[in-house]
């Protein structure tokens, strides 16, 4: 099977698995599945710029965190906020920040770009950590989980299973959008600009504008995931913006395979499940996570999904 078909099949399998979760599990497992699903969405968002656009961002946690903080600031203190008003504001805020960061950073290439985004992310971290806005190092609480409020009805998301369903629908939408964008003409131009900037320009496209568009879309997706995380925990903290958070998501993207849509999601699932299992076995679980990362990178340097695609290729097509 080609990498594209494997990717699509894996996405369908993941989507079905995601929809089945609330019927199979309850309680703690559903909360764990919620966290994993949100992080998978975050990894898909980052993978979209790391893969096709070739923009290795180490500052995506800033967009994730800014949206979370925006939500914490606009959410009412004494009653549940409305998802339909607060989520668009939070996501739009993340997109605006991504537009500013992208506009400046995309002029730099390679390592310079990585560190430019990292510097912006750290600026964001120190902004919330040092200035007293948003509760400084202590973070801020959101007293109520937001509700889906439409004229006449209000659907509460307080129930863990219902909140999980809300999260999985949103993440599946993000995954579908990322998958569609990768296959669209826009995605092809992104890849073209990554692989040969001069020729892409000769075709009449502006690599800068195209990359910036992709970066803003990805930043907005990351913002949506930050909103969900804030809604899940009812709490935001500066650590959400720190570079360690960006790096962890980048690891998920690379482990799964940046050139696919399902790869980053699988990377997130593998890493978080490994964390969960190792945490029960030993307090030094991080060493196990480190060993898994090293083992995966030595066995499959391009990520697990491309490795799978390679392994499943028919023998005669191996060199085609």
């Amino acid at each position: 099977m080609s990498q594209d078909r494997i990717d699509a099949s894996l996405l369908i399998v993941l989507a079905l698995a995601a929809l089945l979760v609330p019927f199979v599990w309850s309680g703690y497992e559903v909360k764990l599945a919620t966290t994993i699903t949100i992080q998978a969405g975050f990894a898909i968002a980052l993978g979209f710029v790391v893969g096709p656009a070739g923009l290795v961002s180490l500052g995506h946690a800033a967009f994730y965190g800014v949206a979370a903080y925006l939500f914490a600031m606009i959410a009412a203190e004494s009653q549940p906020a409305n998802v339909f008003t607060t989520a668009p504001i939070a996501i739009l805020g993340a997109a605006v920040v991504a537009a500013v960061v992208g506009a400046v950073s995309i002029r730099s290439r390679g390592l310079y770009f990585i560190l430019m985004t990292l510097a912006f992310g750290q600026l964001g971290y120190h902004f919330f950590h040092d200035t007293g806005i948003g509760g400084s190092a202590d973070g801020a609480y959101i007293n109520f989980r937001p509700e889906l409020q439409l004229p006449g009805i209000a659907i509460s998301l307080d129930n863990a299973a219902r909140f999980y369903q809300f999260v999985s629908v949103l993440v599946l939408a993000v995954a579908a959008l990322a998958w569609w964008l990768r296959r669209s003409a826009f995605g092809s131009i992104l890849v073209a600009a990554r692989d040969n900037e001069t020729r892409t320009r000769a075709f009449g496209y502006s690599p800068y504008a195209i990359r910036l568009t992709a970066f803003v879309i990805s930043g907005a997706m990351a913002g949506a995931m930050g909103y969900l995380t804030a809604a899940q925990h009812g709490f935001v903290a500066p650590q959400m913006l720190a570079w360690q958070n960006s790096a962890t998501v980048l690891v998920m993207v690379l482990i799964g395979g940046k050139d696919t849509t399902s790869g980053p999601a699988i990377g997130a699932i593998l890493l978080l499940l490994a964390e969960e299992i190792l945490q029960r076995a030993t307090e030094h679980w991080l060493i196990g996570v480190g060993l898994i990362i090293v083992a995966v990178v030595l066995a499959a340097p391009n990520g697990m999904v491309p490795y799978l695609a390679q392994a499943l290729r028919p023998k005669r097509a191996q060199h085609a």
Binding site: S108, D130, K258, V294, P301
Partner: protein
């Protein structure tokens, strides 16, 4: 502001900048010559600091830690290149990023298993445990001057090696144009082994030297790693003179930022880096780029 106060801050800036240079020089060589983004560089710095702590505790001598750091660093670097990095040659550069991130987790957790979570102080070695009076009110610790001296010797030594020796010539050629240097007979395998070993040794050594000033704590490598990346981006990838200027610049921003804007020193470092990169997207000095 008194001129002595200014002078003390200047000394602090130089001393901090030189330690950063010691870490960043290895990082920039690995990047410029091998194209390796080694996120674990800060972790090796931490290894040095903890080694200093262990040597002082068990062998009761700080000075022994210096040669041991070089031996340990060379060995770790050689193992890293021989068994891990060389296997990823030709693969996507991001795979090395991923590998080194895994190494950070392993090294950090290894440190917790061996030494636990508590921070430790290390006494300044007895011979240097005094201060040099600058005026009636200002004195400067001798150990910090010693750090400055080591840093200056290292910087001069490195620039002499780079400018005057055959190895330096091969390194400069490789940083400028890797395939061409190879075609002209540079033994890439040996050079990669040497660069990785030397680069890691510098990081471990820097950790030992910084230990009596910075104290020793889990995760201490993270901050140094990020600042070292800032240094090489400011100076241009692969450029050692650039790294020196970048490190001293960062030392200045840090030392004076802490005095005048104590809450925003970290903020200033990143803001300065963004400002430089907006003006010069390829760093202050023309680097080789990757």
């Amino acid at each position: 502001m008194s001129s002595f106060f200014f002078f003390v801050q200047l000394l602090n800036a130089v001393q901090y900048g030189l330690i950063l240079y010691l870490v960043a020089s290895g990082l920039t060589l690995l990047l410029g010559i091998m194209g390796v983004i080694n996120l674990a560089h800060g972790a090796f710095y931490m290894v040095g600091a903890y080694m200093a702590f262990a040597v002082v505790q068990h062998l009761a001598s700080f000075w022994l830690a210096l040669p041991l750091a070089i031996v340990l660093g060379l060995a770790l670097g050689a193992l890293l290149e021989r068994f891990l990095l060389s296997r990823l040659e030709g693969a996507d550069h991001l795979s090395q990023v991923l590998l080194s991130f895994g190494l950070i987790l392993i090294i950090n957790e290894g440190q917790r298993i061996i030494f636990g979570n508590d921070p430790h102080g290390i006494d300044v070695p007895g011979v240097l445990n005094f201060s040099i009076p600058l005026s009636e009110t200002f004195a400067y610790p001798a150990y910090r001057l010693f750090v400055c001296a080591i840093g200056i010797v290292f910087a001069v030594g490195v620039s002499l090696v780079m400018a005057r020796t055959r190895i330096g010539m091969m390194l400069r050629a490789s940083a400028e144009n890797r395939p061409m240097a190879r075609a002209l007979g540079v033994n890439a395998k040996r050079m990669y082994l040497g660069v990785t070993a030397a680069g890691i040794a510098c990081a471990v050594l820097a950790g030992v030297i910084a230990a009596p000033i910075a104290s020793v704590y889990p995760g201490m490598g993270d901050q140094v790693l990020i600042l070292s990346f800032v240094v090489i981006v400011l100076g241009g990838i692969g450029s050692l003179p650039g790294a020196l200027v970048g490190a001293l610049l960062l030392g200045l921003v840090d030392a004076f930022g802490k005095q005048f804007f104590p809450n925003f020193a970290a903020f200033l470092v990143y803001a300065a880096m963004i400002a430089v990169l907006i003006a010069r997207p390829q760093g202050l000095f023309r680097g080789t780029g990757t």
